[in-house]
Protein backbone atom coordinates (compact mmCIF):
# COMPACT_ATOMS: atom_id res chain seq x y z
CA UNK A 1 0.00 0.00 0.00
CA UNK A 2 2.78 2.36 1.04
CA UNK A 3 4.84 1.38 -2.00
CA UNK A 4 1.87 2.01 -4.31
CA UNK A 5 1.35 5.50 -2.81
CA UNK A 6 5.05 6.30 -3.09
CA UNK A 7 5.09 5.12 -6.72
CA UNK A 8 2.00 7.21 -7.45
CA UNK A 9 3.63 10.28 -5.88
CA UNK A 10 6.79 9.69 -7.93
CA UNK A 11 4.76 9.48 -11.15
CA UNK A 12 2.81 12.61 -10.18
CA UNK A 13 6.04 14.45 -9.45
CA UNK A 14 7.44 13.53 -12.88
CA UNK A 15 4.17 14.64 -14.47
CA UNK A 16 4.25 17.94 -12.56
CA UNK A 17 7.84 18.52 -13.75
CA UNK A 18 6.72 17.71 -17.28
CA UNK A 19 3.83 20.20 -17.03
CA UNK A 20 6.18 22.84 -15.58
CA UNK A 21 8.68 22.46 -18.43
CA UNK A 22 5.91 22.28 -21.06
CA UNK A 23 4.30 25.49 -19.81
CA UNK A 24 7.66 27.29 -19.76
CA UNK A 25 8.31 26.11 -23.33
CA UNK A 26 4.84 27.36 -24.28
CA UNK A 27 5.53 30.78 -22.71
CA UNK A 28 8.97 30.90 -24.36
CA UNK A 29 7.55 29.94 -27.77
CA UNK A 30 4.87 32.63 -27.40
CA UNK A 31 7.52 35.21 -26.52
CA UNK A 32 9.72 34.13 -29.44
CA UNK A 33 6.84 34.27 -31.92
CA UNK A 34 5.90 37.68 -30.57
CA UNK A 35 9.48 38.84 -31.10
CA UNK A 36 9.37 37.57 -34.68
CA UNK A 37 5.97 39.19 -35.25
CA UNK A 38 7.41 42.64 -34.41
CA UNK A 39 9.31 42.61 -37.72
CA UNK A 40 7.15 40.12 -39.53
CA UNK A 41 3.42 40.65 -38.75
CA UNK A 42 2.58 37.39 -40.57
CA UNK A 43 3.87 35.51 -37.49
CA UNK A 44 0.89 36.81 -35.50
CA UNK A 45 -1.32 34.40 -37.49
CA UNK A 46 0.09 31.43 -35.63
CA UNK A 47 1.86 32.41 -32.42
CA UNK A 48 1.77 28.98 -30.82
CA UNK A 49 -0.06 25.91 -32.15
CA UNK A 50 -2.69 27.85 -34.03
CA UNK A 51 -3.16 30.80 -31.65
CA UNK A 52 -4.08 33.57 -34.04
CA UNK A 53 -3.88 37.09 -32.62
CA UNK A 54 -3.31 38.80 -35.97
CA UNK A 55 -6.67 40.58 -35.72
CA UNK A 56 -5.33 42.55 -32.74
CA UNK A 57 -2.02 43.16 -34.49
CA UNK A 58 -3.85 44.67 -37.48
CA UNK A 59 -5.89 46.92 -35.18
CA UNK A 60 -3.16 48.22 -32.88
CA UNK A 61 0.33 46.98 -32.03
CA UNK A 62 -0.04 48.15 -28.40
CA UNK A 63 -3.29 46.20 -27.93
CA UNK A 64 -1.71 43.18 -29.61
CA UNK A 65 1.35 43.38 -27.32
CA UNK A 66 -0.85 43.63 -24.23
CA UNK A 67 -2.89 40.57 -25.21
CA UNK A 68 0.25 38.57 -26.02
CA UNK A 69 1.67 39.47 -22.60
CA UNK A 70 -1.56 38.36 -20.86
CA UNK A 71 -1.01 34.97 -22.47
CA UNK A 72 2.68 34.81 -21.56
CA UNK A 73 2.13 35.85 -17.92
CA UNK A 74 -0.74 33.37 -17.64
CA UNK A 75 1.47 30.50 -18.85
CA UNK A 76 4.30 31.56 -16.53
CA UNK A 77 1.88 31.66 -13.58
CA UNK A 78 0.55 28.23 -14.51
CA UNK A 79 4.15 26.96 -14.66
CA UNK A 80 4.70 28.51 -11.23
CA UNK A 81 1.70 26.52 -9.92
CA UNK A 82 3.19 23.35 -11.45
CA UNK A 83 6.44 24.13 -9.62
CA UNK A 84 4.50 24.46 -6.36
CA UNK A 85 2.96 21.05 -7.04
CA UNK A 86 6.46 19.62 -7.59
CA UNK A 87 7.56 21.10 -4.25
CA UNK A 88 4.41 19.85 -2.56
CA UNK A 89 4.99 16.28 -3.72
CA UNK A 90 8.69 16.53 -2.87
CA UNK A 91 8.01 17.71 0.69
CA UNK A 92 5.09 15.47 1.52
CA UNK A 93 5.84 12.67 3.96
CA UNK A 94 3.24 9.94 3.80
CA UNK A 95 3.98 8.90 7.37
CA UNK A 96 3.30 12.41 8.63
CA UNK A 97 1.55 14.41 5.91
CA UNK A 98 0.22 17.21 8.12
CA UNK A 99 3.09 19.68 8.17
CA UNK A 100 2.97 23.45 8.13
CA UNK A 101 5.12 23.46 4.97
CA UNK A 102 2.53 21.44 3.02
CA UNK A 103 -0.26 23.73 4.28
CA UNK A 104 1.75 26.81 3.25
CA UNK A 105 2.39 25.42 -0.25
CA UNK A 106 -1.33 24.65 -0.64
CA UNK A 107 -2.15 28.20 0.38
CA UNK A 108 0.40 29.60 -2.08
CA UNK A 109 -1.14 27.48 -4.87
CA UNK A 110 -4.60 28.86 -4.10
CA UNK A 111 -3.32 32.46 -4.03
CA UNK A 112 -1.49 31.95 -7.36
CA UNK A 113 -4.63 30.47 -8.95
CA UNK A 114 -6.52 33.52 -7.66
CA UNK A 115 -3.94 35.79 -9.35
CA UNK A 116 -4.38 33.74 -12.56
CA UNK A 117 -8.14 34.32 -12.30
CA UNK A 118 -7.64 38.08 -11.85
CA UNK A 119 -5.36 38.15 -14.90
CA UNK A 120 -7.85 36.08 -16.91
CA UNK A 121 -10.63 38.49 -15.94
CA UNK A 122 -8.53 41.55 -16.91
CA UNK A 123 -7.82 39.87 -20.26
CA UNK A 124 -11.49 39.02 -20.78
CA UNK A 125 -12.62 42.58 -20.00
CA UNK A 126 -9.92 43.94 -22.31
CA UNK A 127 -10.89 41.73 -25.27
CA UNK A 128 -14.60 42.37 -24.60
CA UNK A 129 -13.99 46.13 -24.78
CA UNK A 130 -12.02 45.66 -28.00
CA UNK A 131 -14.86 43.56 -29.40
CA UNK A 132 -17.41 46.20 -28.52
CA UNK A 133 -15.54 49.27 -29.74
CA UNK A 134 -13.34 47.87 -32.52
CA UNK A 135 -15.42 44.91 -33.63
CA UNK A 136 -12.59 42.41 -33.08
CA UNK A 137 -13.90 38.91 -32.35
CA UNK A 138 -12.98 38.06 -28.76
CA UNK A 139 -11.86 34.71 -27.38
CA UNK A 140 -12.05 34.52 -23.61
CA UNK A 141 -10.03 32.72 -20.97
CA UNK A 142 -11.92 30.41 -18.67
CA UNK A 143 -13.29 32.09 -15.56
CA UNK A 144 -13.45 28.88 -13.53
CA UNK A 145 -10.09 29.53 -11.88
CA UNK A 146 -11.88 31.33 -9.05
CA UNK A 147 -13.78 28.15 -8.17
CA UNK A 148 -10.55 26.14 -8.18
CA UNK A 149 -8.76 28.80 -6.08
CA UNK A 150 -11.63 28.77 -3.58
CA UNK A 151 -11.62 24.99 -3.25
CA UNK A 152 -7.84 24.81 -2.75
CA UNK A 153 -7.96 27.71 -0.27
CA UNK A 154 -10.59 25.89 1.81
CA UNK A 155 -8.50 22.70 1.65
CA UNK A 156 -5.39 24.63 2.73
CA UNK A 157 -7.37 26.15 5.61
CA UNK A 158 -8.59 22.73 6.78
CA UNK A 159 -5.06 21.37 6.35
CA UNK A 160 -3.63 24.18 8.51
CA UNK A 161 -6.24 23.46 11.18
CA UNK A 162 -5.24 19.77 11.01
CA UNK A 163 -1.56 20.66 11.42
CA UNK A 164 -2.37 22.78 14.47
CA UNK A 165 -4.47 20.00 15.99
CA UNK A 166 -1.76 17.43 15.32
CA UNK A 167 0.81 19.73 16.94
CA UNK A 168 -1.40 20.18 20.01
CA UNK A 169 -2.01 16.45 20.15
CA UNK A 170 1.73 15.78 20.05
CA UNK A 171 2.22 18.20 22.97
CA UNK A 172 -0.51 16.64 25.08
CA UNK A 173 1.13 14.49 27.73
Amino acid sequence: MKNTSELLLKIMRILAWFVFVALLIKAGAFLMSYGVSINNPEAANDLYRGTDLSRYERYSFVQYSLIVFYHIILYILQAYIALFVVNLIKNINLEKPFTIMVATILQKISVTIFVVWILAMIHNVHVAILERYAGIKASFFSGEYIFLAGVIFVLAFIFKKGVRMQHENELTI
Binding site: H167, E168, L171, T172, I173
Partner: protein, 70 residues
Protein backbone atom coordinates in the same frame (compact mmCIF):
# COMPACT_ATOMS: atom_id res chain seq x y z
CA UNK B 1 1.87 30.44 29.41
CA UNK B 2 -0.14 31.28 32.51
CA UNK B 3 0.14 27.73 33.84
CA UNK B 4 3.53 26.98 35.33
CA UNK B 5 4.63 23.37 35.76
CA UNK B 6 6.57 22.79 38.98
CA UNK B 7 7.38 19.18 38.25
CA UNK B 8 11.11 19.70 38.79
CA UNK B 9 10.47 21.21 42.25
CA UNK B 10 8.34 18.23 43.33
CA UNK B 11 10.86 15.78 41.88
CA UNK B 12 13.64 17.49 43.84
CA UNK B 13 11.53 17.37 47.03
CA UNK B 14 10.91 13.65 46.56
CA UNK B 15 14.51 13.12 45.39
CA UNK B 16 13.27 11.38 42.28
CA UNK B 17 15.00 11.46 38.92
CA UNK B 18 13.25 11.91 35.57
CA UNK B 19 14.10 8.30 34.67
CA UNK B 20 12.52 6.96 37.86
CA UNK B 21 9.40 9.09 37.38
CA UNK B 22 9.17 8.01 33.74
CA UNK B 23 9.21 4.35 34.79
CA UNK B 24 6.74 4.93 37.63
CA UNK B 25 4.27 6.90 35.51
CA UNK B 26 4.64 5.02 32.24
CA UNK B 27 5.27 8.18 30.20
CA UNK B 28 8.26 8.42 27.89
CA UNK B 29 11.28 10.42 28.98
CA UNK B 30 10.88 12.87 26.10
CA UNK B 31 7.23 13.54 26.98
CA UNK B 32 8.13 14.10 30.64
CA UNK B 33 10.86 16.52 29.54
CA UNK B 34 8.29 18.43 27.45
CA UNK B 35 6.07 18.64 30.54
CA UNK B 36 8.92 19.61 32.87
CA UNK B 37 10.15 22.37 30.55
CA UNK B 38 6.68 23.88 30.26
CA UNK B 39 6.40 23.16 26.53
CA UNK B 40 3.33 20.92 26.84
CA UNK B 41 0.04 22.28 25.52
CA UNK B 42 -2.15 20.01 27.67
CA UNK B 43 -2.01 17.21 30.22
CA UNK B 44 -4.38 14.28 30.46
CA UNK B 45 -6.09 13.68 33.82
CA UNK B 46 -4.77 10.10 33.72
CA UNK B 47 -1.17 11.34 33.36
CA UNK B 48 -1.69 13.93 36.11
CA UNK B 49 -3.14 11.26 38.41
CA UNK B 50 -0.22 8.93 37.70
CA UNK B 51 2.33 11.69 38.42
CA UNK B 52 0.51 12.68 41.65
CA UNK B 53 0.49 9.02 42.67
CA UNK B 54 4.19 8.57 41.95
CA UNK B 55 5.22 11.82 43.69
CA UNK B 56 2.61 11.50 46.47
CA UNK B 57 1.32 15.02 45.96
CA UNK B 58 -1.71 17.02 44.77
CA UNK B 59 -2.19 18.49 41.27
CA UNK B 60 -1.75 21.96 42.82
CA UNK B 61 1.76 21.02 43.87
CA UNK B 62 2.69 20.42 40.25
CA UNK B 63 0.64 23.08 38.46
CA UNK B 64 0.49 26.76 39.34
CA UNK B 65 -1.48 29.62 37.81
CA UNK B 66 0.46 32.83 37.22
CA UNK B 67 -1.56 35.76 35.86
CA UNK B 68 1.47 37.91 35.06
CA UNK B 69 2.73 35.27 32.64
CA UNK B 70 -0.36 35.68 30.40
Amino acid sequence: MAIIVNLDVMMAKRKMSLNELSEAVGVTLSNLSILKNGKAKAIRFSTLAAICNALDCQPGDILEYNQSAL
